[in-house]
């Protein structure tokens, strides 16, 4: 039987071709027009796990965005590892900034470009292939349960419901989530915290219908102007979010954790120029970059619609304007509390002449994860063998809504992936480094064997 390393080396072309098949499915869960594609992706994953010898492969809890639940061959007496991942992806917009089409996987300079390449199809597929590598001969060294969902990018509502009804699904020894990147090339990481999310749409109506700015400009309230005035009052130019009460629940990281972050290799100028791609870093600059990214709440505007944005010059006074905005939340904020705070803050600054609504369309609580324990040590050993360097504890500024529920029966949850910070997840030209994908197969294969 080939070793995991031999398997990876010999089969790498096939592994990438299989991954490409999955990446070609435009399984955008936030867009109802792609519901059928999400179903197709779930079936692809389920069929694939069946072929690899999984028993009791099921599509659960939804017709359009089902959770794929699959168990590997039962190995009595062996521990059980839960592998969590998601087959859904972010929308590919703006399409014109992609160098190759988002759902036609393309290799350039050792990278595989496609929507979902790193978030999360490529990452979870590296674990699936690690499972295949250690299952040659039919007897994997560990019990593996896959829980691959299709709504991670839209709140994981279906999986939340499933785990409430069937909590035994997460009655395992350890949960592995490969949906986060290395700290830097050569620096594998474990995430000890994730920010939460509160995603809202703020809609302003000032008029029964659009008006001509020549005829009514000067007296008719403009919905965009009103929205702009509201949004400008939610954050100071210095980056402080002006939502009353928002910072009250924020727990500052311990001095020990902040010191650990301060010792990470980090070149701020380099990060700013080449990773962020800006001339300044903004936000609450009296805090470190890591604290701003991992331990402080944020407020971002994602887009504003209404009025006229076509070619040319239309002189309309818009009756309706709406903004998509979101806050990232940090321990110990609660999504529900922040929803109330945001709604109250918007209503407080809204002028009386406007109808203003705040609708919440996605969210997650923040989470802290204990990054110690025997399984952690095994994964650390696996990374040391491949990278010559163990895992560093960091946090992530992103959100994985389901993480708290994965640990609800007491299993430690390990958040450790093989993406790189410049993978461009959620952005145009998302990619995974092919070398990192193959390392993932080798690392997670070793992890299974060590268990």
């Amino acid at each position: 039987m080939p070793t995991v390393d031999e398997f990876t080396r010999e089969q790498q072309d096939r592994l990438l071709e299989e991954l490409n098949d999955l990446l070609r499915i435009p399984s955008v869960s936030t867009d109802p027009n792609h519901a059928r594609d999400c179903r197709t992706a779930s079936e692809w994953v389920a069929d694939h796990l069946k072929e690899l010898g999984c028993t009791s492969v099921e599509l659960k809890a939804s017709d359009t965005h089902p959770v794929v639940v699959a168990d590997g061959p039962v190995q009595p007496g062996k521990p059980t590892v839960l592998v969590y991942g998601h087959y859904d992806v972010q929308p590919p917009d703006p399409l014109d900034l992609w160098e190759s089409p988002p759902f036609e996987p393309t290799v350039r300079d050792g990278n595989l470009y496609a929507r979902g390449a790193t978030d999360d199809k490529g990452q979870v597929f590296s674990i699936i292939k690690a499972f295949e590598a250690v299952s040659q001969g039919g007897s994997p060294p560990v019990n593996v349960r896959f829980l691959i969902e299709g709504q991670e990018e839209s709140g994981s509502g279906i999986l939340f419901g499933l785990l409430e009804r069937e909590p035994e699904l997460v009655d395992v020894d350890v949960a592995l989530v490969a949906d986060t990147p290395y700290y830097a090339p050569g620096w594998p990481a474990v995430e000890t915290g994730l920010r939460g999310l509160c995603y809202a749409e703020i809609t302003v109506r000032t008029l029964k219908g659009d008006l001509h700015s020549g005829l009514y400009g000067g007296v008719a309230p403009n919905a965009h102007e009103t929205l702009v005035q509201i949004l400008s009052q939610l954050k100071s130019p210095k980056g402080r979010i002006k939502i009353p009460g928002l910072y009250e629940a924020v727990a500052r990281p311990s001095k020990q954790e902040r010191d650990a972050w301060a010792s990470l290799p980090f070149k701020q100028q380099n990060f700013m120029r080449h990773e962020v791609g800006s001339r300044e870093l903004t936000g609450l600059t009296r805090y470190s970059v890591f604290e701003r990214l991992w331990a402080l709440p944020t407020l971002d505007i994602h887009g504003i619609s209404g009025g006229f944005t076509g070619e040319g010059a239309k002189t309309v006074i818009p009756a309706v304007a709406s903004a998509k905005v979101s806050l990232r939340l940090v321990p110990n904020q609660k999504e529900k509390t922040v929803q109330r705070q945001l709604k109250r803050a918007v209503k407080a600054v809204a002028p009386k002449y406007a109808d203003v609504s705040v609708d919440f369309i996605h969210g997650a609580d923040p989470v802290l994860v204990d990054a110690t324990g025997p399984y952690m040590t095994l994964l650390d050993d696996a990374f040391r063998e491949i990278e010559g360097r163990g895992i560093v504890p960091i946090r992530s500024g992103g959100s994985i809504p389901i993480v708290p529920a994965l640990g609800q029966k007491g299993a430690p949850v390990i958040l450790s992936g093989i993406g790189l910070p410049d993978d461009g997840l959620h952005a145009p030209n998302e990619k995974i480094a092919i070398d990192q994908f193959l390392k993932g197969v080798r690392v997670f294969g070793r992890f299974f064997q060590k268990m």
Copy 2:
């Protein structure tokens, strides 16, 4: 020979059918995709004027948006009236708010609904039909020169060029412009002033490319947030435009003119609820509604693009955001000066980390028009015969860029149309009242005969 009134009564079905043919052509001049439709509309108008007996009908100065120049049969010794109008229309967006398709003219409750019904196809066509009515037999009572352009909604650049090269085109006795409405039903009006326009696109770039708000939220400058901060600083919540120097050139209307406006029938609550459709009137409320609409500059936001505005929840930090905005200008402001002032004001409040550009895409100087003189009296008489009420002098908050150039050879310019204030020009469900259209044929026919 039938009188003008008989002609109008007997031929009205045919007149409306002809107007419908013109309204079906989607001649949106601000959209390059409709360049061919603009050409088609110009040919339709030219062919129609030929059929009515015009000599020397020409399409001048442009292949795509030509100016239709046509002279009626020469009547030696008679005065010459220049009829100005435009065959181009505003974009029909937002399409989903139209009760019937914008380019399928539809009659409901005595109104004809279509983009361009009142602005300006329906209005200029009422003068063309008045010309037909008084030309029965081949000898109209006056020399008529038509100057029908295709770029009124996008700055009239082609016609400006033509009139610079051929100023003799406006060497006439009087110019008639039917592109403005009555003051109110039953209240014909002449416009003694038009606001100008300065239409700009403000674009902000803060990042090389879009980023994931989870990974970079807290340090990455957000283009929409920056744009919102800039826009919010251009106007106070009380309606004062905060562009340094902007109000310096504003000439307040005379006490006499303001008193005349104050004596117009006007119910502010009614205007606000049923015409504007809002709960409050905004702007500089220490000035009267008429002064705010006709004699004070405005700043309106028309739309904001960039980022994510699709279905669902995409957590992107936008790299680029841009806003379409415009100012309406009043005597004695100059478009060029206001362009400089706006650009300087935007740059002054833009943060250093952002690349900010201000591009100007449309504009016009404001204009004051003398509304006295013998031709004015003739038109006043014509309206009195039809409406039982003469013309009231008002101003318009809108802009007709070419008006000053029409008077450059000394001809008085009369701005007096037959639309109604609720025609919804530039908005969805634009209409013309069929009764007003037919009144136009009768009034302008009388006007030609009286000359």
